[in-house]
């Protein structure tokens, strides 16, 4: 399939995530964050949180998790090995905590070429809300596809 502007606005499958306390702890430990608010329930509660708050970039990873997460690339004829993460943005509305159940709604927001077609960018916007629809974070990620196959090869 040729990627062109016709994919802009396409909605991708939504999904729901339950945030696990152990996962929040592991994330904080792997990135070397020793702020106890992310790992120690008592410290989190002392800081006014109902449970462990999630570190600032924690909520993006779920977008990439599991085999189904790359289906949209397959559908566009993009080889995962040719994809580089180009930009990432978070706009925060509310703090997420372990135990929260969040709904992710992704859509393709933009696509364009650079360097005379050597790079193809695809931008997604993903709204992350609670089940009642109240906003938590808006994600925007841009990937660069290197070596996009020429149109006549598709």
């Amino acid at each position: 399939m040729v990627i062109d502007e016709s994919v802009i606005g396409r909605e991708l499958p939504s999904f729901t995530v339950e945030l696990e306390r152990g996962r929040v702890r592991l994330f904080a430990e792997v990135i070397g964050d020793d702020n106890p608010v992310f790992t120690d329930l008592d410290a989190a509660r002392a800081a006014g949180h109902p449970d462990l708050p999630v570190p600032p970039t924690f909520l993006f990873g779920f977008v990439l998790e599991g085999a189904k997460s790359t289906q949209w690339l397959d559908d566009l004829g993009i080889d995962l090995g040719n994809v580089l993460h180009a930009e990432q943005s978070f706009t925060y509305h509310d703090t997420a905590h372990a135990g929260d159940v969040l709904v992710y709604r992704p859509r393709i927001a933009d696509t364009f070429e650079k360097k005379g077609g050597a790079l193809r960018f695809v931008v997604r916007e993903i709204s992350v809300t609670r089940e009642d629809g109240s906003p938590v974070v808006d994600l925007r990620d841009s990937i660069a596809v290197v070596r996009p196959a020429p149109a006549d090869a598709r």
């Binding site: 792997v30 992310f38 970039t57 706009t91």
Partner: protein
């Protein structure tokens, strides 16, 4: 450093990270959910034309995020954006830096705009970013 003390030009304390090991990449894949094999599977990386696996861009963004949560409570971050400028090789030693670019009052809230960057030991800038955080009066 106290968030109340930030003024334009204020430099945040540098955050030097230990060398990024293959184990860190494997653990970050599991902890973050970013399972792209290019970061953890040498065979896949080579088949994709890379010499070796390389670090998740989001690992550097998470490291830079520590500058933010060292400065303000996590709920005080309003926005956070980065552009990935170069690949971070496995074993790289990354240093995170941040500077206060401006301070302004928006909707009655004092907010600092921070310029952020992650660098390798050879000076290569791998990530450039910007964040807006609420800081107390």
């Amino acid at each position: 450093m106290s968030a109340a003390a930030v003024e334009p030009g204020t430099q945040l304390p540098d955050l030097p990270l230990p060398p990024i090991s293959r184990a860190t990449l494997a653990l970050f894949a599991g902890a973050s959910g970013d399972h792209n094999p290019i970061h953890i599977d040498l065979d896949f990386a080579r088949a994709a034309g890379q010499d070796d696996v390389f670090a998740h861009g989001m690992l550097s963004m998470a490291y830079l995020g520590r500058l933010l949560t060292d400065l303000v409570p996590v709920g005080a971050i309003r926005s956070y954006t980065v552009r990935f400028a170069a690949i971070t090789p496995v074993h790289a030693e990354v240093t995170c830096r941040g500077t206060v670019a401006s301070v302004e009052t928006v909707d009655g809230e004092r907010r600092a705009r921070l310029q952020l960057e992650a660098r390798l030991a050879d000076g290569t800038v791998t990530v450039r970013g910007e964040a807006v955080v609420a800081v107390q009066q």
